[in-house]
């Protein structure tokens, strides 16, 4: 197997998602492997740099979720310097993070999940795209997605200081406070976002939930895994994207662990497989038993579905209603259906919008007290936030001058890597019969990983930058018998 991959010319091309499907003599799937390219050299790159540069540097790694990296990194600096930001600073950061979630989740539901759910997984290939979505939901919604996104991004730049890569985060606070005029803009934008969030859930209800075929697909065994779930929660065990404790629930929905960010290494370990660059995260307390589900396997899952499973509710009223409907419809908590991530994403978008509104209207947010100057000698700092794609850890060690000696990132997709690999394998086994793979079947396999919104934007930006997918089917002698390319 490894030999086949080594001689494969495609592996020279970065930016490809690759699925290798091994068939047995009967033409049934023996195993399907999903691989993605990985960013190399981060630790070495970070070494020797001043820690306070990290929020800027790490946000530049990725063109997709710079805000999340900026937030996690800034929180790691708070921890590094043992400095607590003033309340205004915390709220401004959460405000920005909420605006980021709104625009990111909106984009994903309509333009990523949309082709599968709004247009339909079995629709002709030429229609399963953004234009197909617009054809179904109308041009005005497309305009609203673009318009809302622009408004959110403008607000992020207003506060974040830079259009694309925010520079606001400093150890102990933020670089700039909000004025009353800024606040008014946030209030107006939040109102629009809440409406859009409600409207999006209505669309989901009408197009997806009222279609028995879609509901059957979402709840089918093909897209179901009973694993652990991880997400950040507040003191009431409600979902929180910016701050709180990490809560892990077992496959039966019971709380298994709850820990502070600083203790993540006591609970999260990484497993290496010969066939993949990706390190597969698992729960140390449970252990690695291979790509297995159930309570004895330490594989866990992050991102929208996992967050809704690992919390006991949402902290805002409209999102809480949607949360209750979600679990009631899908058979109670936890929901193990990977495709339910799309619905969960919309509930989170509404939560982010409502939270944005709460924070925007909060008088604390315009306080001029937005920075606590650090005085401690730095040694080690860990920061964690929820990124749209899941829990994101930043961990730095420094010398007494604050120069990085060691750095580690665990990005959302790494947390999810093991479950994504299982999902691709299971979907391939379910839909491939007699070794036949065509475009429709490929899409059904792709949907298994698309639900997680896996993002390797940090590794694959340049041309060709579409993270094209290559699916290869091998016979038992490891000869390629079929290849389907999406590039």
């Amino acid at each position: 197997m490894s030999q086949t991959i080594t001689i494969d010319p495609i592996t020279r091309l970065e930016g490809h998602g690759k699925i290798d499907i091994l068939l047995n003599d009967q033409g049934e799937v023996e195993h399907a492997y999903f691989q993605v390219p990985e960013l190399r050299g981060f630790e070495k790159f970070a070494e020797g740099r001043p820690a306070e540069d990290m929020p800027q540097i790490t946000s530049r790694i990725c063109g997709v979720c710079p805000t999340a990296h900026h937030m996690a990194s800034t929180k790691a600096l708070d921890d590094l310097y043992r400095v607590a930001p003033p309340i205004a600073a915390k709220k401004i950061r959460e405000l920005i993070n909420s605006a980021f979630f709104v625009e990111d989740h909106a984009l994903h539901f309509f333009f990523l999940g949309g082709p599968d759910f709004i247009v339909g997984p079995t629709a002709p290939k030429g229609e399963r795209n953004i234009l197909g979505v617009l054809g179904k939901v109308g041009i005005d919604i497309g305009k609203e997605v673009i318009g809302l996104r622009k408004q959110m991004r403008d607000l992020i730049s207003l506060t974040g200081g830079k259009v694309i890569h925010p520079v606001m985060g400093l150890p102990g606070g933020v670089s700039k406070g909000l004025t009353e005029e800024d606040q008014a803009q946030f209030v107006a934008a939040a109102e629009r976002a809440v409406k859009f969030g409600q409207f999006s859930l209505e669309i989901f209800g009408d197009i997806v939930l009222k279609n028995p075929d879609y509901v059957e697909m979402i709840t089918s065994d093909t897209y179901t895994h009973k694993t652990y779930y991880m997400g950040m929660v507040d003191e009431n065990n409600h979902v929180n994207f910016y701050d709180g404790q990490i809560r892990v629930v077992a496959p039966d929905g019971q709380e298994y662990l709850k820990f502070a960010a600083r203790d993540y290494l006591d609970h999260v370990a990484e497993h290496v497989e010969r066939w993949s660059f990706t390190k597969f995260c698992y729960l140390k307390d449970v252990g690695w038993t291979g790509f297995n589900e159930g309570p004895d396997s330490g594989i866990y899952c992050v991102a929208p579905l996992a967050r809704l499973n690992s919390a006991e509710g949402m902290a805002t009223p409209l999102a809480q209603q949607a949360y209750q409907q979600f679990h009631a419809t899908l058979g109670g908590r936890p929901v193990h259906h990977s495709l339910a991530n799309h619905w969960a994403r919309l509930i989170e978008m509404l939560y982010a919008a409502e939270r944005l509104a709460e924070l925007a209207g909060d008088p604390d947010i315009i306080s001029p007290d937005f920075r606590t100057i650090p005085t401690e000698t730095p040694t080690e700092g860990i920061g964690v936030v929820e990124a749209p794609r899941g829990t994101l850890f930043h961990h730095y060690k420094t010398d007494p001058r604050g120069v990085i000696t060691d750095a580690n990132l665990i990005v959302a997709t790494q947390n999810n890597a093991a479950r994504i690999a299982m999902s691709v394998d299971k979907a391939a086994r379910s839909v491939i019969v007699n070794g036949h793979v065509d475009d429709g079947i490929l899409n059904l396999v792709e949907m298994a990983f698309r639900a997680y919104d896996p993002c390797y934007g940090c590794a694959s930006h340049a041309l060709p930058g579409q993270m094209p997918l290559i699916v290869r089917v091998y016979d038992q002698a490891h000869q390629v018998i079929q290849e389907v390319r999406r590039d």
Binding site: R60, G63, N129, I130, G142, H461, L463, Q466, M467
Partner: protein, 170 residues
């Protein structure tokens, strides 16, 4: 006429920085005849950067594996096949153009892409590879020539043989 030269890439990742470095050099040579922007965004996120311009030249690294590192390619949007991108982060130029058209956005009518074959697109802090670094001046000259060319002049050399198998990150 409003013209934008948009450098794409990631300054921290080896040859992926080349688009940014090229437009930065170009900026020093221009006298306001075009706006110069750098961006590490991709996919649909680029839509809003292009709105309001008549003409756009995109500059990016690419990796086809079919030409030596440092080779400069010029493309028109038609050279890129539309695909069903697995994520909007990776939506390509055809999708962006189609979306802009569908939404009736004020979008450039003239878009060209200048791309350079990269050797390394995955090493953080790697710096430019030697062949790409050596081709940087030529890349800047080629963009400059495009800018100076009248719109109707068929300066673009269409690499359909390559383009048919290429996608774009823009």
């Amino acid at each position: 006429m409003r013209t934008l030269v948009l450098g794409l890439g990631n300054e921290l990742i080896a040859d992926d920085a080349v688009g940014l470095l090229a437009v930065r050099r170009l900026r020093d040579q221009l006298n306001g005849e075009a706006d110069v922007l750098e961006s590490s965004l991709s996919g649909i996120a680029l839509v809003e950067l292009l709105v309001g311009y008549d003409r756009v030249i995109l500059v990016d690294a690419m990796q086809t594996g079919r030409t030596p590192a440092g080779t400069i390619h010029e493309f028109a949007p038609d050279d890129f096949r539309a695909i069903n991108a697995p994520s909007p982060h990776y939506a390509g130029i055809p999708e962006i153009l189609a979306l802009a058209r569908e939404l009736n956005l004020d979008f450039p009518t003239d878009i060209s892409i200048t791309a350079i074959e990269a050797a390394d697109l995955s090493t953080l802090g790697g710096g430019l590879s030697t062949p790409v670094a050596e081709a940087l001046n030529e890349l800047v000259d080629r963009i400059r020539a495009l800018l100076d060319a009248p719109l109707s002049q068929p300066l673009l050399r269409h690499h359909r043989d390559l383009g048919a198998n290429c996608t774009s990150s823009a």
